[in-house]
Symmetry: C2
Subunit: 221 residues, 2 copies
Amino acid sequence: MPTLDLGVLVSGTGTNLQAIIDAVGGGTLDARVRLVLSNKPGVAALQRAAAAGIPTQVLSHKSFPQRESFDRALVAALREAGVTWVVLAGFMRILTPVFLDAFPMRVVNIHPALLPAFAGVDAQAQALAYGVRITGCTVHFVDSGTDTGPIIAQAPVPVLPGDTRDSLAHRILEREHESLVTVLQWIAEDRVSVVRSSTGSRPRVVVKGRSPLLGTSAEAR
Amino acid sequence: MPTLDLGVLVSGTGTNLQAIIDAVGGGTLDARVRLVLSNKPGVAALQRAAAAGIPTQVLSHKSFPQRESFDRALVAALREAGVTWVVLAGFMRILTPVFLDAFPMRVVNIHPALLPAFAGVDAQAQALAYGVRITGCTVHFVDSGTDTGPIIAQAPVPVLPGDTRDSLAHRILEREHESLVTVLQWIAEDRVSVVRSSTGSRPRVVVKGRSPLLGTSAEAR
């Protein structure tokens, strides 16, 4: 089985990147992180990568006149590094078709809500403000919409009485780390495929031999 | 503790009504169903009510020139029967403020999805078409929007590989029955209150001494 050649796009603290690094180091994820790309200089994610001996690069979106030219630079850097699959780990820029067509159904994002509920920014605060009793996280393929791509896996997380935005975000983040690493290992094992029906309906993700509903035993904690 | 005097509004088969009838009969729900009101003649829900010795009434919305006059007739019938809390059990008409102001935060609905995802009709088919890994049901207070009212409780239900609309709907329906009866008993025990903050944000539901995330142990089945 060939190892998964990952590129990880970051904008901030990079705790999901750290989960990937730890899983690779611990032997539970058959992947190599070929490049960590940040659109912001000086973020903690870059230090995490450097500490793990992973090549890093900063490409500031502010240096490019359009989203498309920024995306072309991202694609070139990732290809140069031998990346075949891309993970968005807190990457706060919208990708254009220039990027998505270069890695078709090979860009994975993790979102801190049970999509399609609470897409967009600060999903944890959105969930808390709405008053839901259950939220979670979603690992999905990225398409040109905001958090609209085909869902690979979801994990539920309870909202507890007295939760603040931060206590809820922390509880979700733990499940994000597990969920992201789990899905990446499925991809490494070639279990994940996208099925397009002839009727033009939404593409669906099939996961061979694993349940795409994650962590329901732990969820009752 | 006074018994909860329920009115149940129906339009169809009435399996959620049956769950209420069975729970009252079995002594797990301290309530009396004072009236079952249908907007359609001849539906199975009316037979279920009659078989349990519960008064029934049919008020066809087609007999009324406007939604408001229909709602006034519903309110009059419910008040005449001594109803203080109203349950929508598959009732397929939108209620106006005429009705909602007569029973403020005393109208409860059950919806077959984890709201705010998949509001409106055929939530089960919507969830399946979207490709989510987890859906569920939501018991909520009714406001003037479509499935937008404050959430009392939610129960998660997995979407399984190979699910059809009907297999998923059946799995959700079992949880609807449990969830609805559980919430009504909380109301009978005076555990449910609505909190409005001074900042004009969304009203929140507080449940005293019970977890508003329902059935997570059974959910791992």
